[in-house]
Symmetry: C2
């Protein structure tokens, strides 16, 4: 794997071949039975557990290569596999096997006055392209989710984790083989050249139906700007929490601290706290103090700083910054209208929460804020396909086409119409 | 309207302004009540009926301009409005008003073990761009469908019908005004320059969420290849009918003749008839004779021509030709497997029909053919949003993303998640 490739034309030919093989594999996969797909998934999990030592050795080689290269600790952490992480990976695949098969599900059915019986049926999308960075477990997650939904997948992981990903991929192929499914159903791009990503973004000659980028902002931005096929992704998770004057203060404190501090590096972490101006005397200071007590830096608007001492000022830039760190921006707003206006201006349309007891406030928030996920009296950190009960996710999308919010197996499907007649012709 | 525009930069600025105004209008539209939208739609229908003479006069001016320009009769027919066609247009808008409002519908709802109540709710998509040719009634259809789904729309009709479309558009704006909805909710591009289409295809600075082309193959091909935003469209409707040996022959004859000859110029017209080889002696000749008796030219494979005399030969090109005329290609295939293979090779993934009494044959056809619409014992000409009971359609899509098959009001929506909690934080 990862042979030196002489030039761009060779890469193009290689990538087109991968695309053609994915398309060919997608057909039998689309009509594979649930049992066959689950047999493959469980065999993949078994193969990963059995190959633990091989995977760990490959991972050690990957880690050795980046050693001393000055990469961030968080990068090294994402690249690192342990025995436990490998077992978790296998469990994740088994959970996907246990999840219901979306393919063939009747989404809607109705009869027409002329007797035609119309059904809308879920079908696979076709071929998914997944482009990711150093996390080798994405290989297993993405491969398993795409297979469950009856799709072929072309995986292109970061070069730093290429040995780990290849070792995991071998286990996935083993599972496909056990279940007599085409081995090309899950392919991994064997070249590190960035031209391979470019080829995927143009669709591999019409083979790729959708691209899912998994990684940092630079990767997602490149994919979103260069892709000539649909993309399921979000660039940022600039999530807001609005605490209304009707909020239960204790609940608001718990939710705000959890939304910001449970894990600061995830896309569902809150980045801006909006507090109802009429609750400035009652709610503001306790919320800010709770955040500071949890170790969070608070950057605040002038009116907030007049009421709570010792806070750093928030500049205009802060309202549009996804910190992904223990920092939050805080602002007073004129009730629910002010919150909706602020979110409308600065949100990345990912996830927003309202803490309030007044149902009219909740209704306006749910109706007028146009983000993928809106939560009432719950933490923004629930923005996750697993937490939504979707049996895992391949990412969260902020676009409005096809998939929005957590992208699970159901979002990796399309549909077709089946119409039963008894000889009807159209007048 | 349609002022001369000095240069491309002016058009760009004009189009960006149209996009910005559409985006601004989309917000109040997204939260407009069903009553308010229906009030606007009914007022539009009233205004169109009241302005009949004005619309007919504008249409006469459009027709005068193309007179003697050697355009096809079918083109002139599509451009021509009559009193009846105007009344039909108004009725079409009233039917859309009477159809259920998709916005706010709870598509799915479930509870999580931690008590979170999750709902998936339909929302408008945002801003739709519609690019069409000479049919002025598309102005009314598209404007009304987009409004019903809570979307703003930017209409760009053909320059030959610009006066008719402008007169109709004035009635739509009148309806918006009556219902206190933003007039920018339905805009029509006032310049004939093709650069305006180019600007729409790049999304008007991020304003347009999806483009719907309505017109011939050249228009759709240009839109599909140049658009940098999602497109709902089909390039061709190369529809097949497979007649199985288990088919009721009388039913098959009626369906085949209707599918081909009811209207030969529509996208749901059948272009290829596949007959089960084991029914060559029983079904083939009666089917071919019925087609010829209805005035259809039959182009046939060699084995068909040996069994039925006087047929023109079908070349390889015929299997991939959408005639849109009284011509059909006919081939014998090896049962359902042969039919599935032929359709897999030549279909445009639009609509296919099977005529059969054997449920196993129907099941394989429905399972293994991957086209937007599959019909059993019914004519392909039912491929239509109105016939599907969708309250009208803006077109039929063959892509697999978001919308597939007839694109009605429901397909012009997106969704978001609303999550109700009682103070849940994520462990």
């Amino acid at each position: 794997m990862l042979d030196a490739v002489a030039n761009g034309r060779d890469i193009d030919a290689l990538m087109l071949d991968i695309g053609a093989r994915a398309t060919a594999a997608a057909r039998p996969l689309a009509i594979a039975s649930t049992e066959q797909k689950n047999k493959a998934l469980n065999a993949m999990a078994d193969a990963i557990v059995a190959a633990r030592d091989t995977i760990l050795a490959a991972n050690a080689d990957d880690l050795r290569e980046v050693e001393g290269s000055g990469l961030q600790a968080s990068f090294i952490d994402r690249l690192t596999l342990t025995d436990q992480r490998i077992l978790d990976m296998a469990d994740g695949i088994r959970a996907i096997a246990a999840f219901k098969d979306p393919v063939g599900e009747v989404i809607a059915a109705w009869d027409r006055p002329n007797g035609l019986k119309i059904e809308r049926i879920r079908t696979p999308l076709g071929v998914i392209g997944v482009i990711y960075e150093s996390r080798p477990n994405v290989t297993a997650d993405a491969g398993a989710l795409c297979l469950k939904a009856g799709n072929a997948v072309v995986l292109r992981g970061g070069s730093d984790s290429r040995r780990s990903s290849a070792a995991i991929h071998a286990c996935l192929v083993e599972g496909l083989r056990v279940a007599d499914l085409p081995e090309d159903a899950i392919q991994i791009v064997p070249v590190a050249d960035r031209a391979a990503v470019g080829a995927m973004l143009t669709g591999l000659g019409g083979s790729i139906d959708v691209i899912v980028p998994r990684g940092g902002k630079n990767l997602v931005a490149r994919v979103q700007s260069e892709a000539r096929v649909p993309v399921f992704a979000h660039l940022e998770g600039l999530c807001h929490i609005y605490v209304d004057a009707s909020a239960d203060l204790d609940m608001a404190k718990e939710i705000v601290v959890n939304a910001k501090m449970r894990r600061t590096g995830v896309c569902g972490a809150a980045e801006t706290l909006l507090v109802d101006r009429t609750a400035a005397q009652t709610h503001l200071k306790p919320l800010v103090e709770a955040l500071r007590a949890a170790g969070c830096e608070v950057r605040a608007s002038e009116d907030v700083r007049r009421l709570v001492s010792g806070l750093n000022p928030a500049t205009e830039d802060d309202w549009s910054t996804e910190y992904l760190d223990a920092i939050i921006s805080v602002r007073l707003v004129d009730g629910i209208s002010g919150a909706i206006a602020h979110i409308g201006t600065y949100s990345s349309s990912h996830t927003e929460a309202v803490v309030a007891e007044d149902p009219a406030v909740v209704e306006r928030f749910f109706s007028e804020v146009d983000s993928a996920i809106l939560l009432h009296n719950a933490s923004t950190q629930f923005a996750d396909g697993g937490e939504f009960g979707m049996g895992g996710e391949i990412g969260i999308a902020t676009g409005k086409m096809h998939a929005r919010g957590p992208v699970g197996v159901e979002q990796l499907t399309s549909f077709k119409y089946r119409v039963h007649g008894t000889g009807q012709t159209r007048p």
